[in-house]
């Protein structure tokens, strides 16, 4: 089976800033992989490298088996119809001078897909798929609400029929009730159209709702990848445990009974990441070994899920912080 996305040892440095520092992950066709992390973890940078909005410093990015990391822009262009990205803020990612219809048609035009007539039909079809009426196609982005604009972004991203969609915080700028609609829509489109999705977000609840597997990033590296239900019910890495315990659950009875893993300090600078395990200065259970050697991301437990922690045993058992 050809993977929809295979990232191997991806590195992205901005001068001295080691934003992404050796990340490997895969997304199967039709799968939603949630990529979670806090500010400065490098998750958005990774998402942008995957669609080559940023040149990578080192490593491989294979989309449908083809390495795109080193391709020239000209050779990359025809491949771009296979992958696309949706951003957090639709207001700043839609051209204000183009009508919604033209915005959605643009990828079709650039990739020379169809004729003028079939493109027009395709735009109407896409508008319908994202839950907008076809007359919205004649309007401009400023006439739409935030939720409607995000629907337009989705229609544009999907118009050329990509097999991989990177969604970078697609609901973070939206109100709660609108978020629900956009999350439902992404889930429905993904089920109907079958594209693979790298869903980048800090919103754990959204990932829990949408993703089949979840990758957790901290300071430029992955610390854990596991099936959604395993990750949320039994997180293995101490950072994953702290992250999940810090996100409040909208249920006062449950929330007030939970025990929280309180992290000391702040996320360190990606210019000089800590030695060994990057999480060790803040980890409540760190041992001297953690400061000395980098823990590899290795398979543990019956499901061979990946975790990068010296303290997690091969059978998947390990420290329980809360």
């Amino acid at each position: 089976m050809t993977l929809a996305l295979e990232v191997v040892d991806l590195v992205k440095h901005f001068g001295p800033v080691r934003a992404v520092d050796g990340v490997s992950l895969t997304v199967a066709p039709g799968e939603v992989l949630g990529l979670v992390g806090e500010s400065g973890s490098g998750k958005s940078t990774l998402g942008r490298c995957v669609v080559r909005l940023l040149p990578v410093s080192a490593g491989t990015v294979r989309v449908n088996g083809r390495d795109i990391a080193g391709l020239s822009r000209r050779r990359l262009r025809p491949l771009r119809r296979d992958f696309n990205i949706v951003f957090q803020d639709p207001a700043s990612s839609l051209n204000p001078r183009m009508t919604v219809g033209d915005i959605i048609r643009e990828p079709l035009r650039l990739h020379r897909i169809g004729t003028a007539t079939t493109r027009r039909r395709r735009v109407d079809e896409l508008l319908d798929q994202v839950g907008l009426q076809t007359d919205v196609g004649r309007r401009y982005p400023h006439e739409l609400s935030g939720g409607q604009r995000q629907r337009v972004s989705l229609a544009r991203a999907l118009s050329a029929g990509p097999t991989l969609l990177v969604a970078d915080e697609p609901t973070s700028a939206l109100d709660v009730s609108v978020q629900a609609a956009v999350l439902n829509l992404i889930g429905r489109l993904q089920a109907d159209l079958g594209f693979a999705c790298l869903f980048v977000t800090h919103d754990l609840a959204a990932v829990e709702f949408l993703a089949q597997r979840v990758a957790v990033m901290y300071l430029g590296v992955l610390v854990e990848i596991a099936a959604r239900s395993n990750l949320f019910s039994a997180p293995r890495h101490p950072y994953t445990q702290a992250l999940l315990s810090a996100a409040p659950i909208p249920d006062p009875l449950l929330q007030r009974r939970r025990r929280r893993v309180v992290l000391t300090g702040e996320i360190p600078s990606p210019v000089n990441p800590p030695s060994g395990c990057r999480f060790h200065p803040r980890c409540p259970v760190a041992v001297p070994e953690c400061a000395r050697t980098v823990p590899p991301l290795r398979p543990v437990g019956p499901a061979r899920e990946l975790v990068a922690c010296h303290l997690v045993h091969d059978d998947g058992s390990g420290p329980r912080l809360a």
């Binding site: 839950g131 629900a180 829509l185 659950i249 996320i267």
Partner: protein, 337 residues
């Protein structure tokens, strides 16, 4: 029973804009008790932030404010500007969402906290720095003696918000108004800030008026909740009661729209069709009627009062949900087309 710390009665805020009047807050009434954490929740444009700012008249000249606000029996809206300045920062302090835009980038942290101490407490010289350092320590900033001489850009987002809180509690206010204090922060940092607010409430005995859209934060820290929609208070209840036995269809929609890891929504999240209306004037109708699946002619032609509902707490709805039967599958329709 002790009288409430803050009483808001019929607070109305009308903005004059180029496109005509906008009624941002429509006769909002609520109390905050001493040491209580009261959360005002709602989505963008519901009037929650304007309400918070109107309490001490921190609004531009285009706003006209009606109704009454009293703090320990003293009416705030009739005070003169100089009297109000004594109230702001001393009795009622604010913390806003984005600490970087609230802090002065060219002054040290100590200097900015010191400004409050000089203005309201008459402290001078070394006493100012000493007290500022103590305050930084109180809000959990490590090495406060060094941080007090640093500039905002040298601090992380979480630390900046702690500085804002230090500044806000400098005069041991009776009421801290926190407007989305953790929205710009990461969850692990947010957890720390919420802990600080919780601890300070005990330590200095202040009440907190928390403005937020985050129901997780509400579940974590609030004693009571006021839900606002299109400028009106539509429901008000103790936190557990609100989550378990909400009476308003909008509250119900809001709670079900949030993905909740503790309660899997396999059939999809609930959507609320349509959008929040902007009010020009106060309609004789329920402002949620156009988006509510249970609305009938009464809802569209008569204004519901905020009155005790089936579960005993205040609800502004003609057909409130029954407490035993708080989930009606048909009451909010499918998503917008």
């Amino acid at each position: 029973m002790k009288p409430p710390l803050l009483t808001v009665d019929g607070l109305t805020v009308l903005f004059r804009t180029e496109d005509g009047p906008v009624l941002a807050v429509d006769a909002a009434s609520f109390d905050v008790a001493e040491r209580e954490v009261l959360a005002i929740v709602g989505e963008s444009g519901c009037g929650k932030s304007v309400t918070a700012l109107a309490l001490t008249r921190l609004l531009p000249g285009s706003a006209s404010i009606g109704g009454s606000v009293s703090l320990t029996g003293r009416s705030l809206l009739s005070l003169g500007e100089s009297q109000l300045r004594d109230v702001r920062g001393r009795d009622i302090a604010y913390v806003f969402q984005e600490p970087m835009t609230s802090l002065n980038p060219v002054l040290t942290v100590g200097r900015q906290i010191g400004e409050v101490l000089r203005r309201h407490q008459g402290l001078r010289g070394a006493a100012v720095t000493r007290r500022a350092t103590e305050l930084l320590d109180m809000v959990g900033i490590p090495l406060p003696g060094r941080r007090v001489g640093e500039y905002p850009h040298q601090l992380s987002g979480g630390m900046r918000q702690r500085v804002m809180i230090a500044m806000a509690i400098a005069c041991r206010p009776k009421l801290l108004i926190a407007d989305e204090p953790t929205t710009a922060l990461d969850v692990t940092v947010q957890a720390g800030i919420l802990d600080v607010l919780r601890d300070l409430r005990g330590e200095i005995g202040m009440a907190v008026l928390l403005i937020t859209h985050d129901l997780g934060v509400v579940a974590d820290i609030a004693d009571r909740v006021v839900v606002m929609y299109a400028g009106r208070v539509i429901e008000q209840a103790p936190t557990e009661q609100l989550f378990a036995h909400h009476g308003h269809h909008y509250t119900h929609g809001l709670l079900d729209a949030v993905p909740n890891p503790a309660r899997h929504a396999e059939g999809g999240l609930r959507e609320i069709p349509g959008r929040v209306p902007t009010m020009r004037s106060s309609p004789d109708a329920c402002t949620f009627a156009d988006r509510c699946g249970s609305a009938d002619d009464t809802c569209r032609t008569a204004r519901p009062d905020l009155a005790p509902g089936p579960a005993g707490h205040l609800v502004r709805c003609w057909h409130p949900l029954q407490p035993a039967n708080a989930v009606l599958p048909a009451d909010i329709g499918e998503g917008p087309r």
